[in-house]
Subunit: 241 residues, 2 copies
Amino acid sequence: MTQNIYDNPAFFAGYSELLRSREGLAGAPEWPTLRALLPDLAGRRVVDLGCGFGWFCRFAREAGAAEVLGLDVSQNMLARARETTADPAIAYRQADLERLDLPPAAFDLVYSSLVLHYIEGLAGLLAGVRGALAPGGRFVFSIEHPLYTAPGNPEWIDGTWPLDRYLEEGPRTTDWLAKGVVKQHRTIATYLNALIAAGFTILRVEEWGPSDAQITAHPDWASERQRPPFLLVSAGLPADL
Amino acid sequence: MTQNIYDNPAFFAGYSELLRSREGLAGAPEWPTLRALLPDLAGRRVVDLGCGFGWFCRFAREAGAAEVLGLDVSQNMLARARETTADPAIAYRQADLERLDLPPAAFDLVYSSLVLHYIEGLAGLLAGVRGALAPGGRFVFSIEHPLYTAPGNPEWIDGTWPLDRYLEEGPRTTDWLAKGVVKQHRTIATYLNALIAAGFTILRVEEWGPSDAQITAHPDWASERQRPPFLLVSAGLPADL
């Protein structure tokens, strides 16, 4: 079963202080690239897997979505999402993302930001996403890039990233905000082939690194161009499903 | 214009001594994985981009292909391919792979092994491949993995691969068999998005590393599991094109 680190008090406290937690989507440097992968949201029914504080759910409604369902494993996150949302077309619900219990073909977009690399049972999650999407539906997600999750010692050495264990899939335990955070390393090929096996067509793949303008504003981000920190994918179901 | 390193005498002499040159497909450790991506070849019309000594062209005919066209930029390679082939259904021709001049929709499979990372004009090559394929046709290829081509200093350090420059696409000059061999580094995302933009559906992606059995037979290959050396892709055109 996937670790629920977000309800660890130290992790939750640290996570709440991140730029992307305090400022929402505007505080996430990869957001403009992820946003560009989204279909037009007007009138669409949207699910957010791992909705956290609800930033994307509120964005989707502002962009015209008809209804938005935010799912998260963390009661702490959901409580804060509910506190900061006053919109009857947004619902938040606790859920085990590996065993989605959603009405069939009831959504047009499933979105997930930086969650899938925590999930042990990827095939189960993808089967749930596929079942919840209507024909022509989209699945747009970001994850920590496999180059970021692979190494045994993920720390820069003289400006280079000491890659190893790339083909060795499985858990990686790191100390980030709290001790013993468990991520699941998978290769890019594994993610893409699992999507294809679940019936999706790959529409676009982005290996995100900071733009020149972002590096000018944040010179310490330059190293992220040596090894992209995020992988973004847009996948779709056939319209004539 | 893409460098034609294969007609450099030192490179050609060194290349001719490689296991994959002397033993053909059986001497290429990634061949079983690449072969598994191929469609049934019985009765099919096949093109090999960068056919070299003709090993794959002869394999395709043994597997039942109706006709096989081997294209290569190197006169040296083509001369040896012709010397070792006695099959009127196999033709070899010199070609600029960035500007393919093939009859439209005349082939069922385009194959290419370890060639595209030398090609400067990838979009031109893909447009040529797409135009040459019939509806339902496949493009199956291998390249040096972008993790292999990216680094400024592609040499193991204490068992780790010093990754840098991954998002910096463009030429990389290395000394391999001869001085000043120029490869074109592109990201995985760039390859996949270029295929999608050219009208292909991604069918399968493999990041190849040696199997346990291969490492038992060749213990010095074990490091290749830390950083896959080859990327293999199967892509297809819609049958109702």
